[in-house]
């Protein structure tokens, strides 16, 4: 095999190694994002205009 063949094989090996390393790196990134950002549910104050009283309330 000549120099180009060896270079091609090396390129393939490097690509394979990169892809293999990319998978765990990707999952770690996802977990890290979850750790950095808390999910928070906040109580939303209801505007008084939206509240229905009297006959319009349907009682």
């Amino acid at each position: 095999m000549n120099r180009k063949g060896i270079a091609g094989l090396l390129a393939l090996l490097i690509l394979t190694a990169l892809l293999l390393a990319a998978l765990p790196w990707e999952t770690r990134q996802l977990v890290r994002t979850r750790m950095e950002n808390a999910s928070v549910v906040t109580a939303t104050p209801v505007p008084t205009d939206d509240l229905l009283f009297g006959d319009d309330a349907g009682y």
Partner: protein, 473 residues
Amino acid sequence: MKLWLKQTLLCLMVILLSFGVCMAVFVAYQTEKLLDLAQESGLAQSEAFCEHLATLERTEAINMTSEEAARRALIQFTFSTYAHLLQGRERSFSLVMDGVYLYNISSDRPMEQLPVTNQVIMAQRMVDSSGTPLLITARNTSLLGLPITVYLVEDISDTMAHIDVLTGSAQLALLACLLVCGVLLALTLRRTLHPLRTLAQVSEQIAGGQYALRSRLQTPDEVGDLSRSFDHMAETVEQKILALEDTARRRELLLGALTHEMKTPMTAIIGYSDSLLTMPLPEEERMQAAYEIHQAALRTERLSQKMMQLIAMTDCPVLVRRPLDVKELLDTVRLSVQGSLGEKGLTLETHGETGVISGDSDLLFSLLTNLIDNAAKASRPGQCIRLTVQEDAESFRVCVADQGCGIPADKLALVTEPFYRVDKARSRKLGGAGLGLSLCQLIATAHGGTLDIQSREGHGTAIAMRWPKEEQP
């Protein structure tokens, strides 16, 4: 680099990239899903715990009017009871009221890790506690009129292990795909490109001189087309090389024969001229010597002319084909040969003097005079030479027949070779060089026709040229 290896590497890279991207998307999607499931599970457990605590408000043991300290104590007691029942190694509950832990057995301070304000209903966060992944869920609620925050700290190592297994499986799948595709591609491409290797080997062998070799690949694809084109090219090259070799061989023979033929008259010229210059000869012998020198010179001139004609016909047979009046052609020929025929006591009979034929007048004249000259050399005085011109639907035919000595059957195939003479001594004596029939053969070929020689020894010879009416492309 070999083509099969280059193609294999390229295909593997494309497959690897495509498959790698697909696997990355799949793993990302599954990871997100697993983390979402863990969070939903945490929320559900926290919700269930708060529901358990809410049952406290339905008991009559205490009411809203009781002392705050009593309500706080009851909440603390109830919480610890439920927490004791529900928590384990993987999860623990904590109770915070007014920023103070009323119950906490976890070493990970959840309130500090996930502080929540009064506006927050619930919050979640993943943290890493000394290498252990934890999910903290906080929920604000109100119990017996007191605001409390319930924390759930859950170990999600199982979820992370699940994600790691998923990632490992994806890596294995990627490697397996690389190996399987690599082996299959290499085998398939080597098999597919095998005909090209055969073609290259045949090409090298042909370049080495084996011109008769052919690849003969019969695959119904582009390689098969290439093989057929290659074989066609090899066929043409072989024919050209054979023709060139034949021409070279003929030229070599011609040159050798010419040298030999020139030697005879030159020897005569040198011998007689030497005698004239060095010896005092009587007048009669001097005249005889001069005559011999003249004859030798004439023979050399004839030889030279025929050689020039022969070379011109061999190298570049320029054919000017036009309609010729047969009578006019035969008259010209008769005029040209009647002197020499008359000297030998021969007569010329012509047949078919009407009509028009198509051909090169100069070449046909040369052909007929050569054939009549040969016939005259073979004939005895008093005999007749017959010249016939015929025409049928597709071709013309001229024939010169004599009643002379004829040609032996085993020599018939050789008489058109340059400088070949059946009877060398007699032919030289009569001034022949053995080039006449060679020239006739070339003239026939130039017209796209053939030269047919029929002869019986002792009875005579008939030589006919037949050529097509339509000019060949």
